[in-house]
């Protein structure tokens, strides 16, 4: 029987320790430099001070509330942007003439950085939620669009031939052959898109917001609280890492048939 997956290879303890060595070293040096007064605390507070601030912000619930606000915006914007990217990508990937029709527009719009849209969106939609969510949607749209087109295009013609021989209709062809074959590529696009979405929400909140992690950083700068500012910055990094980790787990689950993408990585 082969129904049981093979046992995962065991790694030595040092394998798990390895990624932590450099950050720990860095923080130690930083702390030492602060203790020796080499660093000015109003510009770069010591790790211990930052840790204390982190605890305070966690206790008061302020940090988690701001992260939750930003996360919600990301999820809404990403759902819209990635969803549209998926649909447009399928259409453009499947039909040469559709791609041709849209090629000039996408070619012109794609190089525009997401943040460049923020002033225009604020003008059109105000500083409310919708302008921020739109920025995120725009940011996550492009990588998803491109990876879906690329994935659909690279479907092995040998598989398409098999589907022809077996007289499959268009819907079956799309759902059972083209999309599964494009899935590894689509996932890469989703992960990049999510990264951009998370970066864009911070950008949008830096410019105009009254809540969210970007707002927290900006406000801390205005009231000269570098420790709060740095806690916010670190929180962005950690949350981004966590989101990518979750997407990677989902990818492994969905691509377990694929020895490269579904395996350990």
């Amino acid at each position: 029987m082969v129904s049981n997956p093979p046992p995962k290879p065991k790694h030595p303890f040092s394998f798990y320790l390895l990624p932590f060595i450099l950050p720990i070293l860095l923080i130690t040096v930083w702390q030492l430099a602060s203790n020796l007064d080499w660093l000015q605390s109003s510009i770069l507070p010591s790790p211990l001070v930052i840790a204390q601030t982190l605890l305070d912000l966690l206790k008061s619930g302020e940090l988690l509330k701001n992260i939750a606000v930003s996360l919600l915006r990301v999820l809404e914007g990403f759902a819209i942007g990635a969803g549209l990217g998926l649909i447009a990508g399928l259409i453009m990937g499947l039909s040469r003439s559709m791609e041709r029709l849209l090629s000039l527009i996408t070619g012109l719009l794609r190089p525009i950085p997401t943040i460049a849209w923020i002033p225009a969106l604020i003008l059109w939609m105000g500083i409310g939620e919708s302008s921020k969510i739109t920025v995120i949607a725009v940011g996550s749209f492009w990588p998803v669009l491109l990876s879906v087109i690329q994935g659909v295009r690279s479907t092995d013609p040998k598989y398409l031939e098999v589907a022809r021989i077996l007289e499959k209709d268009r819907v079956t062809l799309l759902t059972k052959v083209i999309i599964p074959s494009a899935l590894p590529s689509i996932f890469t696009g989703l992960r990049i898109g999510m990264g951009i979405a998370w970066a864009s929400v911070v950008g949008a909140e830096l410019i105009a917001a009254s809540s969210g992690i970007g707002f927290m950083i900006m406000y801390a700068r205005e009231v000269s609280q570098p420790d709060v500012m740095l806690v916010g910055v670190a929180a962005i990094g950690l949350t981004g890492l966590l989101i990518d980790f979750l997407l990677l787990q989902l990818q492994r689950r969905l691509l377990k048939w694929n020895s490269v993408w579904g395996g350990e990585s």
Partner: protein
């Protein structure tokens, strides 16, 4: 089963248009295959064997002449002609079971479908591997899955394009036996393309020898040996030698240095 249908190839020509001009791949191919017959085709690499199978399969269009299946010219691929390629072409995202089920005709009731798939898993000897993915199987098991996928729709003709080419000698002999069992059980027409003269004689009712480009049948040998055949019998070896000489007769003496 529906009534058996015959396959008739009449004066077939196939050429590909290439930038440097037309490339004639097949010329003047004539063949009539009786329902239930097992045909082996041998030929050197590049002589157009795969092209001929792809034409019968409807994946390519003829340049001249016609291929009649049940008196009508072949235009498109269809479930009445199953094809197994040299590479298994299984979908890596489907399990063995799902790959085989993908070959089923549509509008089947789910329970019926499950039964058919289960029967074919048994037929090709893959019981216990239903839930495995193709990359977890050996090359021989992958080819058996591909054969099962081609058979579930109950095709009239099974087209095999060097299906065992990538397998080791022992597995190949085992697979030849299995294909023979399936052919006898399903009473299906089989056209097998191969490089392997031994395989061609062991399996075929007739062996067709193809000439080099442009390809055509230069010789047809019927194999009057009863099955199961003994690969080491004098009659078998004599037939084998006859086909071998078709390829190498001009260099029968000298030139042994290589």
């Amino acid at each position: 089963m529906t009534k058996p249908m015959s396959l008739k190839i009449e004066n077939l020509t196939k050429h590909y248009s290439l930038p440097q001009g037309d490339l004639a791949v097949l010329t003047g191919v004539d063949l009539t295959v009786q329902p239930g017959e097992f045909i082996s085709i041998v030929g050197a690499s590049g002589c157009g064997k795969s092209t001929l199978l792809r034409l019968i399969g409807g994946l390519e269009q003829v340049s001249e002449g016609r291929i009649l299946f049940d008196e009508t010219p072949i235009q498109n691929p269809g479930l009445d002609r199953g094809i197994v390629f040299q590479e298994s072409r299984l979908f890596p995202w489907f399990t063995i079971e799902e790959n085989i089920a993908f070959g089923c005709r549509k509008n089947l009731v789910e329970s019926e479908k499950q039964q058919i798939v289960q029967d074919h898993i048994k037929l090709v000897g893959l019981l216990g591997f239903e839930k495995a993915y193709p990359h977890q199987l050996s090359g021989g098991m992958q080819q058996r899955t591909a054969i099962a996928r081609a058979l579930v729709s109950r095709p009239q003709i099974l087209l095999l394009d060097e299906p065992f080419g990538a397998l080791d000698a022992l597995t190949r002999i085992q697979m030849q036996q299995e294909i023979l069992n399936i052919w006898q059980k399903e009473k299906i027409t089989v056209i097998l393309v191969t490089h392997d003269i031994d395989e061609a004689v062991f399996l075929g009712d007739r062996v067709l020898v193809m000439s080099n480009r442009p390809g055509t049948f230069k010789k047809t040998l019927s194999v009057p040996l009863a099955r199961p055949r003994d690969r080491n019998s004098a009659a078998f070896l004599a037939l084998r030698k006859k086909i071998y000489d078709e390829f190498f007769s001009k260099k029968k003496t000298g030139g042994r240095s290589r």
